[in-house]
């Protein structure tokens, strides 16, 4: 993988509806925090990576130009990376590659979204060309189709999948209650979730992530710099990323190759052979509770077709063998472009013992993940407390 890379600081905004701030001010809120957390100044940074959803989300092409000052990028190199929902992972990977290659020592990675300024579903419609695939436009459609494909492929009973999805939603929302920066902070019961209004059957209201404004910033550093600057860095143990064909019907999405292959690559690099046993916590991208069930399988955390059983017996719940999304996950906070980088930041907080009330006791190895496109991309970053 090249040189060792570490996370030496993270910063997140308070996520939610942030009409109180202009977009550059929102980005600045995260950037200020990351510099405070890392204890360095912009002078120490060699380059900046930025990403968001398509700029149509907020109605301005090249929004990173608008944030140049907030990103502290004046006089520095700037890269933009975007892969839809997995943007945050791609932004992190770009920074990691930059340092691992030896071309930079300290890189600031920032991702953001201000979804309330536009119309998130409308922006989603523009991700597909308008002639052939537009019918599945709008995220819930693509991912509900995929959930049902998965249920059909493994002959998973509707009621069992429903129960497991409800547990995922309840656990995530419990996490959100413990995370002061989360957007949705509400106590839900399994019944609240399973009786909520239908959005795209089988997906109901609390199976779906919110529309959020928020930004996340992470500073990555080379081994030498990290050891010099940071008392307790979170080391990058492995990364993986895979893409798939454009047309959603071209491949089986129940056995989701891009998730499987991306995680295999990351595990190999991290020297992980039994992820369920070896990982202490996972920040799985879960914009839809049903989708998290699929991810648990495709990330190799339980056998294919058995995620509902594992979820129902509490394997991925707080206090279980591998707690997932203690931060509340995407189900509670979804500034889309930032959501993948928030997973990385949360994984870093966990392995450095800085996650506060949602800390998983003694976590040393954490997986972070995000997915993007119409079931097209998957990215993984694994962080550990030891080099």
């Amino acid at each position: 993988m090249g040189r060792a890379v570490a996370v030496i600081g993270t910063g997140q905004t308070k996520h939610g509806r942030r009409d109180d701030l202009s977009y550059p001010d929102l980005v600045r809120e995260a950037v200020k925090k990351v510099f405070e957390d890392a204890g360095i100044t912009p002078k120490d940074v060699d380059g900046v990576v930025y990403g968001s959803m398509p700029s149509m989300m907020e109605g301005m092409a090249y929004n990173h130009f608008y944030f140049a000052d907030a990103l502290r990028v004046v006089g520095k190199p700037l890269l933009r990376t975007e892969t839809c929902g997995s943007t945050g992972q791609s932004v992190a990977h770009t920074a990691i590659h930059w340092i691992a290659s030896g071309m930079a020592d300290v890189v600031l990675a920032v991702a953001s979204e201000k979804e309330h300024e536009g119309d998130a579903q409308a922006t989603m419609m523009t991700i597909l060309e308008p002639f052939l695939m537009v019918t599945i436009g709008g995220a819930p459609v693509a991912f509900s189709l995929q959930s049902r494909e998965w249920m059909g492929y493994y002959h998973i009973d509707d009621d069992k999948a429903r129960e497991a999805a409800s547990i995922v939603s309840v656990d995530s929302h419990d996490g959100g209650l413990k995370n002061p920066l989360a957007h949705i902070r509400v106590k839900l019961t399994k019944e609240d979730v399973s009786k909520a209004p239908i959005i795209t059957y089988p997906v109901r209201l609390y199976d779906v992530c919110p529309t959020s404004d928020g930004a996340c910033a992470v500073i990555f550093a080379s081994e030498e710099k990290a050891k010099k600057i940071c008392k307790k860095p979170a080391w990058v143990k492995g990364i993986g990323f895979r893409g798939e064909e454009y047309f959603i019907g071209d491949s089986n999405k129940a056995v989701w190759q891009s998730t499987i292959e991306a995680s295999k690559e990351a595990y190999k690099e991290a020297g992980i052979t039994n992820p369920l046993k070896e990982l202490d916590v996972a920040e799985v991208y879960n914009p839809f509770s049903y989708q998290e069930l699929m991810f648990l399988e495709c990330l190799g955390l339980c056998p294919p077709g058995e995620a509902p059983d594992y979820v129902i017996k509490g394997t991925f719940s707080p206090g279980g063998e591998l707690p997932c999304d203690p931060s509340g996950g995407v189900l509670c906070t979804n500034p889309i472009g930032a959501a993948g980088l928030i997973r990385v930041a949360e994984a870093a907080l966990q392995v450095t013992g800085k996650a506060g009330e949602h800390q998983v006791e003694g976590a040393k190895l954490a997986l972070s993940h995000a997915m993007g496109g119409a079931e097209q991309f998957n990215g993984i970053t694994i962080l550990g407390s030891e080099l």
């Binding site: 419609m125 523009t126 695939m133 459609v141 059909g152 059957y201």
Partner: protein, 174 residues
């Protein structure tokens, strides 16, 4: 130009029920961007859409892996070979997955409720994304029970055809 914009807006815009800027302490500035585009569909999709206008569903076959893909493709996504052999596909197929859309959003192509399905047409090696319909969709529980019994579907054509994907109105259970 204004007329053209209006036309595009009328085509794509539906009533947005739950999208309003609330009253708040700080100002927001309203700004809309509506841009017209003309996308080149090239020879492959032109022929595919011409086929739909004639009530035919065309796929193309890869000479290397033999896969038949629909909508027709210029090249095979896995082999990168030209796909020059045109195949008229049967208008029946199996439902691989489906979902019932029960909420409204901007840019939606149809008024909810509607069902989107992945339909594997006989002789095709991939599934086609399209509507499933022809029965009452007002009660989600009834739809769920009905769809449990549906495995095969058949294309129903629109009365008026415009040479686009909506020339197929939907696929109905058989």
């Amino acid at each position: 130009m204004a007329e053209k914009y209006k036309l595009i807006k009328d085509l794509v815009r539906m009533e947005i029920v739950d999208f309003t800027f609330p009253k708040k302490e700080y100002r927001t500035g309203r700004h809309d961007t509506v841009l017209p585009y003309n996308w080149a569909l090239g020879p492959t999709w032109t022929r595919f859409f011409d086929g739909l206008k004639e009530g035919k569903i065309f796929g193309t076959r890869c000479k290397k892996c033999n896969k038949v893909l629909v909508p027709a493709r210029t090249f095979c996504p896995s082999c990168y070979e030209d796909m020059e052999e045109w195949i008229e596909l049967p208008q029946e197929g199996s439902v691989e997955t489906w979902c019932l859309v029960n909420y409204k959003y901007y840019g939606q192509v149809k008024k909810p409720p509607y069902i989107i399905g992945q339909i594997r047409l006989d002789k095709a090696n991939c599934s086609l994304t399209h509507f499933i319909g022809g029965f009452d969709l007002s009660d989600p529980d009834k739809v769920r029970r009905k769809m449990k019994t549906v495995s095969r579907v058949k294309a129903v054509w629109s009365k008026e055809k415009h040479g686009d994907i909506y020339d197929i109105a939907y696929f109905k259970p058989i």
